[in-house]
């Protein structure tokens, strides 16, 4: 059935749209404000320094966790023996992810998100690929840094 006239007036429609949009806009701005006003807790570091010895004997196709600030990080020895580092936190709602060696994929149990070995989203709600880090070794030290950060180690 086609109605000859609309059940809502143009004015009501516009008011709802305006109100909704305004609320979304203001809450977005307010979120940024709160993020600054609320104390900065467990902010992610630009880089962390690990003991290289602890991470030498990871078997291929497995991960070893390390603390990335207050969050979970993984040193990941890929099946092809390349070692990489990534943040072990889902890009959807920040749940910790796990590596599934049998599938060669990362899995997030919160909403069933799947990522491949390069961090690309294969399935599920995560909006962005996993974040990978730059991994360098300097003697005894293993340095995990955000991509593009110049690491300046304090001189010992």
């Amino acid at each position: 059935m086609r109605l000859k006239f609309s059940l809502i007036t143009r004015r009501e429609f516009l008011n709802t749209l305006f109100g909704g949009w305004l609320i979304a806009f203001l809450s977005g701005s307010f979120y940024a404000l709160l993020k600054f006003a609320y104390p900065t807790l467990g902010k992610e570091p630009d880089f962390v320094v690990l003991n290289a010895k602890d991470f030498t004997d990871i078997p291929a196709n497995s991960v070893k966790p390390f603390p990335w600030g207050g969050k979970l990080g993984f040193i990941f020895k890929r099946p092809d023996n390349k070692t990489v580092a990534l943040k072990g936190v889902c890009t959807h709602m920040e749940c910790n992810i796990a590596y599934k060696p049998e599938d060669k994929k990362f899995y997030c149990p919160c909403h069933k998100g799947w990522f491949d070995m390069d961090g690309k989203v294969i399935e599920g709600p995560p909006p962005k690929p996993l974040e990978f880090f730059e991994l360098t070794q300097e003697g005894e030290k293993l340095i995990v840094a955000k991509k593009g950060i110049k690491v300046e180690l304090p001189k010992a």
Binding site: K35, F36, Y38, T40
Partner: protein, 354 residues
């Protein structure tokens, strides 16, 4: 609906009908120079933004000379969104003062100050002075070399006023020289004294505007095409402008975050060719016009006296412009307005490029 009940609750206790009919009856004339009616509202919006960003910055800023500089570095480098909010406060201030000057020169040139609106002009003038002092005191809070030198020059300049100069200088500096005492004092001004008087004066200023209605420039008296209701038409247009201004402030803050210089050292020599903030350039440039010595008199003192007279004249314009007060064409004051405006613009530009 609960909304209706709430409305009823208030309606039973307060006379909203009066307010509603008042807003309905506020009309804005439409003519060639109509945009100038928007500059005041825009300034107010930008001030509100300054209050918000300033309040959150005050959670982290430490107003003590040993820590001030470091605390701002910490805000910018260590805190979530800190770099953004410092940048917003900086660019918001620049834009607020810029728009304020447009508002002032606009009302000057259109003679919106004329009878019966003299008090609006006076409250506005005080707000302008407050805003400039807001900028100076805020800049000083950064406690870097440049800010330190700028405040030394500015307070020193005020010290050249005859008779009261020394008194003003010591009062502003909190001592004979610019020191850590000055920082605490300026912080007090910046976050409590000035905000309080700003709110008070904006309140009076805006109330008076409501009371008198919008002024129509003499030249447009017979050219008013129609009247637009303030509510909702003009208010919606205000919103559009505010949104654009907000976007501009945020964009500038992201792309041009202000630098932080070296920590100020009261005992060190000031850095090479210091320049004050742009809204001081016209004064700075005027001072440069005068030689240090005029016929055995202190040139700087003469400059300061002349500047003060110029500012005093500006302040008194509504009372001196007798013709406008009688709603007659006042060519002399049109020219005076143009001279003030051109002088400000040209001196600011010269100061900027040299």
């Amino acid at each position: 609906m609960s909304c209706q009940r709430l409305k009823k609750w208030f309606d039973e206790r307060y006379d909203f009908e009066g307010i509603r009919s008042f807003t309905k009856h506020k009309l804005i004339p439409v003519h060639k120079y109509g945009i100038l009616y928007y500059t005041g509202g825009l300034t107010m919006f930008l001030f509100a933004l300054q209050f918000i960003t300033g309040m959150v910055l005050s959670f982290y800023y430490v107003p003590y000379h040993e820590q001030a500089h470091k605390s701002i570095i910490e805000i910018v480098t260590k805190l979530n969104m800190g770099w953004l909010f410092r940048s917003l406060h900086h660019w918001g201030a620049q834009l607020a003062i810029g728009v304020l000057f447009i508002h002032v020169f606009g009302t000057l040139l259109l003679k919106a100050y004329r009878k019966p609106r003299e008090l609006i002009w006076i409250t506005g003038f005080i707000l302008l002075a407050i805003s400039i002092f807001f900028g100076l005191s805020g800049y000083f809070l950064l406690w870097d070399e440049r800010a330190f030198a700028a405040v030394r020059v500015a307070t020193g300049g005020a010290g050249n006023l005859p008779v009261i100069g020394g008194f003003i200088k010591s009062f502003l500096r909190g001592g004979l020289d610019v020191t850590g005492e000055t920082l605490i004092r300026f912080y007090g001004f910046h976050v409590s004294v000035l905000p309080f008087f700003t709110l008070l004066l904006i309140g009076i200023h805006v109330l008076l505007v409501q009371y008198h209605g919008m002024s129509i420039p003499l030249s447009q008296k017979d050219n008013v095409k129609k009247y637009e209701p303030f509510f909702p038409n003009v208010l919606y247009k205000d919103f559009i402008l505010w949104l654009i201004a907000l976007g501009v402030v945020v964009t500038l803050s992201v792309f041009l975050p202000p630098e932080i210089g070296k920590k100020a050292d009261p005992l060190a020599a000031p850095p090479e060719n210091i320049k004050p903030e742009w809204y001081f350039l016209f004064l700075f440039q005027t001072l440069k016009l005068f030689p240090g010595d005029i016929m055995g008199l202190n040139g700087e003192m003469i400059a300061i006296i002349l500047i003060s007279l110029g500012i005093l004249f500006f302040f008194l314009i509504p009372f001196l412009d007798r013709k406008s007060a009688r709603d007659e064409k006042s060519t002399a004051f049109t020219w005076i307005g143009i001279i003030y405006t051109v002088y400000f613009v040209v001196m600011t530009i010269i100061g900027f490029i040299t």
